[in-house]
């Protein structure tokens, strides 16, 4: 173990002992980039890593809002501007009761290196609130978004920081946020936010992008292992946009997604979730805000497993599309036991550190991390920014083609970086090193 990394990890652990998710992400990352630090002692001399694992700015603010009965509530708002070496800060806003400074820091960290990997001019950031939108009326959500933006607008801007949606923040919330931003600044600044509706500067292909990104990356993995996606069975967790997009694209390419999951359990549909009817039902189920998948089983007469995760189902490919740390060691053991050949994390840090180690050490499983397989969403955001900047809109086919090209570049640069640092065919090691090299080069050049 490299001494510099060891010391830095220890310092972080002492200082941020209570921030488990952030520490998990940071320490895991430091471990991954060790081969680069070992080779070049100048990183230590500049103490560059210390400025790469912590955010440039962090904002925490209070968000008072009034419910439909006239009762006041106070939520907590956050924005972590992690790194701007490669472009303006960019990352999602998450409205979920689990949101705190720790989770936002962790997401901003992951976002920085995910964004860098795309090669597009994007820095890294994240933000959100502990506000829970699930049981709120449209009017309550509007009031909350307006109050939230009244604080946030000071810190963002099309050349400074461009938030987008995440969990609990969809097109509707982005619309409310953008309207308030426009009102406060007096400018129609399209690039203040991404994820807007297509009528107010949003990009075509938004709904499909995240799922397509994961499948395009998977296709490259399969091709390099003389395999093809056609005829494969896939287990997916979650039932949001990402999961829906994976089901749809997989079906188009002749593969079959057989599971979806929610907080209530998972459904198993051996015929595959691919018909238009089923896909539309998934979208409607998500839009109902009930946050459960059981209705799918009732509607299509398939099995529902209450309180369980879908990783025990024997499939060829597993793609977690839900939340962080959903795949633990037990699940990893089940996946390996079922001879799952490909594991592609599509949602950020879906796998615990131990589970990932286990999967990667299994010689028969080929793994991809969320920084690569989960980058479809942010690539789309970046392409939305390009269209806004040019004041033009591209067709769906144009967006799809550009997205595909960026994913190919991510794959190629990851494979090349792993090769260069003696890791062999290691997509995750390659992701981390390739993105590290880009960010560090930009920071050194700018004396940041």
């Amino acid at each position: 173990m490299n001494k510099y990394i060891e010391d830095l990890s220890a310092r972080l652990e002492a200082r941020y002992a209570h921030e488990h998710e952030y520490l998990q992400a940071a320490v895991r990352w430091l471990d991954r980039i060790a081969p680069v630090i070992d080779r070049d002692p100048s990183y230590e001399k500049m103490d560059l890593l210390a400025r790469m694992v912590e955010p440039e700015h962090m904002y925490a603010f209070l968000v008072p809002w009034e419910d439909k009965k006239g009762v006041m509530h106070t939520s907590h708002g956050y924005r972590v501007q992690f790194n701007s070496a490669m472009g303006p800060y960019k990352g999602g806003l998450r409205f979920h009761p689990s949101v705190d400074m720790d989770s936002v820091k962790f997401l901003g960290f992951e976002q920085t290196y995910k964004n860098a990997l795309t090669g597009l001019p994007l820095g890294g950031a994240s933000g959100g609130s502990d506000f829970d939108p699930t049981d709120k009326s449209r009017r309550e959500i509007m009031r909350f978004c307006q109050s939230f933006m009244m604080q946030l607008y000071r810190y963002i801007g099309s050349d400074t920081d461009i938030p987008s949606g995440d969990l609990g923040v969809g097109e509707r919330e982005i619309g409310f946020l953008y309207g308030e931003y426009k009102r406060l600044t007096g400018r129609y600044e399209s690039n203040a936010l991404t994820g807007k509706g297509t009528k107010s500067g949003g990009s075509e292909f938004k709904k499909e992008a995240a799922g397509c990104g994961a499948i395009y990356f998977l296709q490259r993995m399969l091709a390099d292992n003389n395999d093809s996606i056609e005829g494969k069975t896939i287990a997916v967790s979650g039932f949001g946009n990402l999961a829906w997009g994976v089901c749809r694209k997989a079906a188009l390419l002749g593969a079959k997604v057989v599971t979806l999951s929610g907080p209530d359990g998972y459904i198993y549909d051996p015929a595959g979730i691919g018909s238009e009817e089923k896909l539309d039902f998934v979208l409607a189920m998500r839009a109902s805000k009930k946050d459960c998948v059981e209705p799918y089983a009732d509607r299509f007469g398939v099995e529902f497993f209450p309180g369980e995760k879908p990783w025990g189902v024997p499939v060829d490919i597993a793609i977690p599309c839900a939340v962080q740390n959903e795949v633990d060691v037990e699940d990893a053991v089940a996946l390996v036991g079922n001879r799952v050949k490909y594991y592609a994390e599509a949602s950020t840090m879906a796998t615990t550190t131990e589970a990932f180690r286990l999967l990667e050490l299994s010689p028969d499983v080929i793994c991809a991390g969320a920084k690569a397989a989960g980058s479809g969403g942010v690539i789309l955001s970046a392409l939305e920014m390009v269209q806004n900047s040019q004041r033009l809109s591209w067709s769906r086919a144009d967006v799809d083609e550009r997205l595909h090209k960026v994913i190919d570049e991510i794959y190629d640069s990851s494979v090349a970086a792993a090769e260069e640092y003696g890791l062999g065919y290691d997509l995750i090691g390659g992701n981390n090193i390739a993105s590290f090299l880009k960010v560090s080069e930009a920071m050194i050049a700018q004396a940041l």
Binding site: A382, M385, V386
Partner: protein
Amino acid sequence: MKQKSKRYQKINEEVKEMSFENPYLQGLMERVIRRNPAEPEFHQAVKEVLTSLDPVMTVHPEYIKEGVMECLVEPERIVKFRVPWEDDEGNIHVNRGFRVQFSSAIGPYKGGLRFHPSVYEGIVKFLGFEQIFKNSLTGLPIGGGKGGSDFDPKGKSDSEVRRFCQSFMSELFKYIGSDTDVPAGDIGVGGREIGYLFGQYKRLSNEFTGVLTGKGLTFGGSLARTEATGYGLCYYADNMLRDNGHDFDGATVVISGSGNVAIYACEKATEYGAKVVAMSDSNGYIYDKNGIDLDCIKQLKEVERKRISEYMNEHPEAEYHEGCRDIWQIPCSIALPCATQNELDKNSALALIKNGCFAVAEGANMPCTPEAVDALHANNILFAPAKAANAGGVATSALEMSQNSMRYSWSFEDVDDKLKTIMTDLYHNTTEAAAEYGMAGNLVAGANIAGFLKVADSMMSYGVV
């Protein structure tokens, strides 16, 4: 009192020297000299442009009536500031910083920053004035500006350069911006300095924008920028040659210099079928009858940073000569001076003519002396002036701005294609302008006139501002 009269005497002499037949231009030149005393470089630049514009004034008296010329010779704004910085031993030094925002008639101010002990207001004004016309010629929306400092980066440590750049930008950032003024590099300001300046601008403004060009590829730089000036030179020259029944194919070419411009001019000329037989550095030149081995030059200059004389180790059959003047004695049909200013004088021009050279295209800034240019013109040698022929560099800077504005990067081929189109258009604009004002074939005049007209017409449409 005595000293003062001596100064007036000197100015009067200079006024007499810079005479025009056109009384209006004569008066204008005189005012420029009296209002900007002791800035001979600036006077010289104004004089050259006004000479080319003489015929335009006859055809378009409205430029005179509307005061376009008076406005054009006066910078819109000059910023001059103190730059204190600390060296590695803890000593404080103070340099001067400059930014001349000369003309924003056709776009935000754009021009390089030069860090060199010779920098003072006169030099920066001269360079900024020239930049207006060069930028205009590219056809892209960029005005003219220039800046820099009398700081000497030679012998400074990396940390000292960084501290200087940060202090310099701490003042400059108030005056620039992606829609206001977009500086680039020049002498003493390369990729490293641009990086430091950009980082400091970003910290001070909390904005990531295309406020500087010449950036690294990881933070908004453009592909094909290194190649741009050299390639652009050949694209321009190729148009000129074909228009006059010549061709690079099979031609023998002499190129002076071995920096970015020379290397990539050599690469493109060779690709077009020419044989480049000589290249040089500040110590001397090599002559290789079989054609220069460019890979060897690239290895020496871009990787090992060695002298060009080392070429002989790989190619003992070639010749090495100390000193650079005589490179133009080598028989060739096309000469591309890509080294430095005033490197090709009248004698060199006469030697080229005697040896049957039919075209000279300037890759460096003003490498041919005025006497050499006169000799080339007098003998009907095709001559492409730097202002037009080496505009590929600044054109690619403008393409970097386009890419930053749209938050997207073009591929190498995309940038190269656009560069080629720009240089071709530029050639046609210069020849047409020269022909229209009765100086067909004189690309020096064509470049000044074409560059001027676009700026002047924009100024007219804004009214008196």
